[in-house]
């Protein structure tokens, strides 16, 4: 792998940057691989990276329907945090957060992880109870999360309005200082480049059209728009389209796919130092390094693969943004887009083996998968390599729904009385 650093940049600048090689090869698919990953987003590419680096599996193909990183990896608002309530979730997301902090060095690619602090606002006494419960649980789980008064919240994020004219006053906030953002494209590209350097074939414009099974029912390969590929291990990491791919293996999952919108403002000089989230009035905002305010909206109400949401959903989010940050009313929306998120009934992911031998699935991240990328990739690669879950993802099975042993972050956060 060509090393990336200031020196190599300087050296090549003299020759007009002619010497740079492709980040990854553009190989034609081989007839067989030891493992096939369906989905070339951050989670899928990261899984290939960890299979190659940690488990010595180099004969791997990542099959991407379009261009890598073009799904939810390239469409999310890049919020990274780990202050989840339940032990299972905290362990998973904090595992990821620890990996984030060294990811640029691991990949020799600047993913611009920026732990600038994620602040979650409380607007009602119920929000305060929920928020403080998180803070206490996080502390005992070794996850940083602190409670701020409204004044402290304002000091941490000066554009925040905590004044009395607010429809829903700010009663406090939970702050995770280790949380922040990263550059989403760089995550996909960095994993792809590092995986490619270890021999992983990244095959774009290759849509899987069928999953083949042998006489015993185990997977034996996939059909793609670029030909058939034999393999004994398939990892499905096709966020948004998981149900579609799993249906090829005859499986029905506890998933529904919803449009999730995001938008950015025109770039302005630095004005917003951190990430602010308000679950109860639906607003998520940070400022990118380029200067754009990056704003996340809620999902639309209905199942859809259209990658387009309703105007009223985006508008409602901007109402909330303008209410919390009235000085941003005059800024302008530059670009609005939508991804497709697959959502489980308990809003926690499934990272597990499936009833089909050789078929593994990593899905159901809902609106928050980006933050888990390195951790998810690491434990999913483990699960695929060893045909058994890593202790961290052991609770995130499909069977939890049958048993009623849900990891219900949504219910724990959102029910009002």
């Amino acid at each position: 792998m060509q090393r990336f650093n200031a020196l190599s940049l300087l050296r090549r600048s003299v020759r007009g940057h002619q010497g740079w090689r492709p980040h990854w090869r553009d190989p034609a698919p081989k007839p067989a691989y030891d493992a096939v990953i369906i989905g070339g987003g951050g989670h899928g590419l990261g899984t290939a990276f960890h299979l190659a680096r940690d488990h010595g599996m180099r004969d791997i193909a990542v099959l991407e329907r379009g261009w890598i990183g073009g799904g939810n990896t390239g469409r999310n608002t890049t919020v990274i945090r780990s202050n989840y309530l339940f032990d299972e979730s905290a362990a998973l997301y904090d595992h990821a957060l620890k990996l984030w902090s060294g990811l640029s060095q691991t990949l020799n690619y600047n993913v611009m992880f920026s732990p600038r602090g994620v602040m979650m606002l409380a607007h009602t006494l119920h929000d305060v109870q929920v928020g403080r419960r998180h803070v206490h649980a996080n502390r005992l789980n070794g996850v940083d999360n602190e409670w701020l008064t409204p004044e402290q919240a304002k000091a941490f994020c000066p554009p925040l309005s905590i004044g009395p004219g607010l429809r829903y006053p700010v009663l406090g906030a939970a702050l995770q200082r280790r949380g922040g953002t990263a550059r989403h494209d760089a995550v996909a590209w960095g994993y792809a480049r590092a995986a490619d350097a270890m021999g992983v074939d990244i095959i774009q414009n290759s849509e899987v059209t069928a999953i083949r099974r042998d006489a015993q029912g185990a997977v034996s390969g996939v059909e793609t728009t670029r030909g058939a590929i034999r393999t004994k291990k398939i990892g499905v990491v096709a966020a948004g389209h998981t149900s579609v791919v799993m249906a090829m293996a005859g499986l029905r999952l506890p998933l529904e796919s919803y449009p999730l919108q995001a938008l950015v403002s025109e770039p302005v000089k630095p004005v917003f130092p951190c990430v602010v989230m308000s679950n109860s009035i639906h607003a998520y905002i940070s400022q990118s390094d380029k200067g754009e305010l990056v704003i996340g909206a809620g999902t639309d109400a209905y199942v859809s693969y259209s990658q387009r949401g309703g105007l009223h959903i985006a508008a409602h989010t901007l109402e909330a943004i303008c209410e919390l940050f009235p000085r941003f009313r005059r800024l302008r929306m530059l670009r609005n887009w939508a991804g497709i998120v697959d959502v489980t009934p308990d809003r926690s992911p499934i990272i597990a083996k499936t009833p089909v031998a050789g078929l593994y699935v990593n899905c159901g991240w809902g609106t928050g998968g980006f933050k888990a990328t390195p951790g998810s990739a690491h434990v999913f690669a483990w699960t695929m390599a060893k045909d058994a879950p890593h202790p961290i993802n052991a609770p995130f099975t499909m069977e939890r729904f049958r048993e009623g042993k849900l990891i219900d972050e949504a219910a724990a956060a959102a029910v009002a009385h």
Binding site: H241, V244, A301, Y302, V303, L311, F401, R402
Partner: protein, 90 residues
């Protein structure tokens, strides 16, 4: 914002409706096995294409009805009353 053809009231904007999830999932608490009941509660078709789903005209007539919608284009292909069979599309 979608435009939804309520079988009782006609076309109305999406804001007047609430979504009710996948249609035609039979509730059989007496006979369902654990697996069957889990499937009833959680497993969904989630198709990329025609989806049979429930809507309620909550800020209108208040009635539930079923719809066939293409989840790729979000176009409604049919709406029909509860209890009516899923229509065949050409």
């Amino acid at each position: 914002m979608l435009l939804i053809d309520c079988p009782f009231c006609g076309e109305r904007p999406e804001l007047e409706f609430s979504y009710g999830g996948e249609a035609h999932i039979a509730r059989t608490p007496d006979t369902a096995s654990d697996d069957g009941w889990t499937a009833f509660l959680y497993d969904r078709t989630n198709p990329k294409g025609i989806h049979a789903e429930r809507w309620r005209h909550v800020h209108g007539c208040g009635r539930f009805f079923n719809a066939l919608r293409d989840t790729v284009s979000d176009k409604f292909r049919a709406t029909y009353r509860i209890g009516e069979a899923r229509p065949e599309l050409e």
